[in-house]
């Protein structure tokens, strides 16, 4: 299949998660919603369930206002809004981790706002590396398994989890490879985003198969020339309106530190005898993320390192409005960019953005600085 056909296929999925949901339901599968930023998708998958990401949508907020004050990020607001409006009808449960304060409140509101879709909490430890932290992660997983069994009637087996761990590792590898290939290949920012976004709405094995083909095609296809190379960081970078401006201004994303994109695929499940232990170890091994305790701000060094490695000339921070964890990290990121001689730009984004004029002007001005 040609590059364009593969991309069109992924675009279709990225643009219409509801269709995917209906498709899986029609196939007789049960679907479990997973919210940002990390959840044990491997477990859900291993139980024969389809994990589907819910990161909200670009839309107006009405119903969620009954639950949330205006100063909660629009991802949480719109996830709740969609839930209340019945957009997730047919979903068997929703797994919500408590990795930031706003996520903690989502689960509590969910219980009353969307009564027909059970809330399953996943409590991750922040002190995730010591043995006692790993043990606690495991207790969190065990709880998710129990709740999933109740909500869906599905059964858990270690054997199946070992398989799913492998499938997720393969998907990780393919996605990492894609990010590297996309840094060179001729592919727009919008198309790049479709590849990452569609991953949230497909079974990993299905997504892997398509992206693998895409990687092959892109590797052999034309290379992008004469673009301004940047690294993009933030929680979410899926707004087509915003990404179009990147393309219009000849800005090329050569690496990302986006929670919705590459942060998901950096860490594999290690090879260990017990697959639950292995999955807990994976969480312990995860780093370089705002939501994971990071005394040394390794995330900041990582961004600079990745920018340099990919020959990026600048760092664009897409700051989700009201995302306080990312707002704290912005200052050290800004300083580190200055010290490394990297230009940086901070654009506040929000799912209610209708007017992109300001962002367009900022991106244009950024481009002109080079």
């Amino acid at each position: 299949m040609a590059v364009n056909e593969l991309l069109a296929q992924l675009h279709e999925v990225a643009a219409s998660p509801k269709k995917q949901l209906d498709k899986y339901l029609k196939e007789g599968k049960k679907v479990v919603a997973v919210t940002p930023v990390y959840t044990p998708q491997e477990i859900i998958h291993s139980m024969g369930l389809v994990p589907m990401g819910v990161w909200g949508a670009d839309m107006e907020i009405n119903e969620a206002k009954k639950y949330y004050p205006a100063f909660i990020c629009s991802i949480m607001q719109t996830v709740l809004e969609l839930g209340i409006k019945g957009e997730y009808e047919g979903v068997s449960a929703i797994v919500i981790p408590s990795l930031c304060d706003s996520l903690k409140t989502l689960g509590q509101n969910w219980k009353y706002a969307v009564k027909d879709i059970p809330f399953i909490p996943m409590t991750y430890p922040q002190n995730r590396k010591p043995a006692y932290g790993i043990k606690f992660t495991k207790a969190g997983y065990e709880r998710v398994i129990r709740d999933l069994e109740v909500a869906t009637g599905a059964h858990f087996s270690e054997f199946a989890l070992a398989e799913s761990n492998k499938i997720y590792n393969e998907h990780n590898a393919v996605m990492r490879e894609f990010a590297e290939i996309a840094a060179e290949a001729e592919i727009t920012a919008v198309q790049r985003s479709d590849v990452f976004k569609s991953a949230w709405f497909m079974l990993p094995e299905e997504h892997t198969a398509i992206v693998r083909k895409l990687n092959e095609e892109l590797k052999n296809g034309p290379k992008a020339e004469g673009k301004l190379k940047v690294l993009v960081t933030g929680i979410l970078a899926d707004s087509p309106n915003l990404l179009k401006t990147f393309d219009e201004n000849g800005i090329k994303i050569v690496a990302d530190d986006v929670a919705h994109e590459s942060r998901q695929y950096r860490t594999d499940v290690p090879d260990m005898e017990n697959p639950v232990d292995a999955l807990a170890q994976k969480f312990a091994d995860m780093d370089n993320c705002t939501l994971l305790y990071d005394r040394d701000k390794k995330r900041v060094d990582y961004i600079i390192e990745q920018a340099k490695k990919h020959d990026a000339k600048g760092v664009i921070v897409l700051m989700t409005k009201f995302c306080d964890p990312e707002e704290f990290d912005y200052v050290p990121i800004k300083r580190a960019c200055d010290a490394a001689g990297l230009m940086h730009l901070n654009i506040e984004v929000d799912r209610q953005m209708v007017n992109y004029e300001q962002a367009h002007t900022m991106i244009q001005a950024f481009k002109e600085m080079f």
Binding site: Y67, S98, S102, Q108, P121, F328, P332
Partner: protein, 411 residues
Amino acid sequence: MGEEVKKSRPAPDPNSAKFKLGQIAAKAYSDAMEAKARGEMVGWCASNFPVEIPETLGLYVCYPENQAAGIAARGGGERMCNISEGEGYSNDICAYARISLAYMKAKEAPEQNMPLPDFVLCCNNICNCMIKWYENIAKELDIPMIMIDIPFNPDYEVSDAEVEYIKAQFWDAIHQLEEYTGKKWSDERFKEVMEISGRSSRAWIEAASQAKYVPSPFNGFDLLNHMAVMVTARGKAEAAEAMETLLKEYKENHEKGVSTFRAEEKYRIMFEGIACWPWLRVTSTGLKSRGINMVTTIYADAFGYIYEDFDGMCRAYANVPNAMNLEHARDKRIKLCRDNSVEGVLVHTNRSCKLWSGFMPEMSRQIGEACGIPVASFDGDQADPRNFSEAQYDTRVQGLMEIMEANKGGN
């Protein structure tokens, strides 16, 4: 506005709880300053970090949240917020954090100084914002960060797995601190601290529960002020003693039929949220002028650090207000409303505090329904004065009062 006429005030009675509590709060700062001057290490400590740990080890600590509240109450909130915003911190970040990060840079604030830290003690049982805030301090000052993770508990009860996780971290924290500061843990000293902390907590909870009398022997705003001692010094003998004095005074007030609420108590409400420190006078006067006494707040129940042993301590720190699920948090408040004959709830929708405000609309609805009382809310911020409107506050309080009045008519 309806302020009491200021008579020539007698010199403060050094035996009064108010005087003692004020002294303890001030002494916490001066002790830390002196320790730092002597060359001892001083830490910055999150308000719900297990203070038993630094106290048992004999470490001096200061409380940035308390400092930020003090700075904000004395009018410095906006100035400090502007400093950190100038550094690139968004004004959506909790104002306590913004003030604290500004203080780290400015190194002084005439409203409330404290020494810069040699280590930070972080505990996220009140919020995860705390983690990011302390990470930034630790990284910038290049000092150790002791991180005790007490996750938000989605269940009503604290699980054994959680207690085990917390316990392991407590010991880890103790060992890290021993190594870094050279101080030694003593089980015997811990027992003492535990007993004192329990004494303070029991006296505090009982003092606050005197609001069960109608009229209440105290103005609930007292609790917001005295709470500072529970935050910073609950493990110190002076604090236990001062809290016991407070309890005694409230009991005497009741017997004598007097109150620190210096107006006729016509209505009794629960105040939900952190005080609006920059607008303390305005928010308090807006109530008092209408005869509304804020008789209780969740703080009356918080700081209940009463436990028998180390495991009990771990459990207690997992049961602080912001770590509880909606149902548990709601039931505690319903009990406070019932025990204290509360007729209405006034909710501070605090722009700084996403966790506290993020499920408050639903929770307060449930409280209102369960108790059959009206709920009103106003927008504010515990430390950034820019996020509060006096006019809105007034309208909301007036509205609440009118419903409470109508409800009385119906009885």
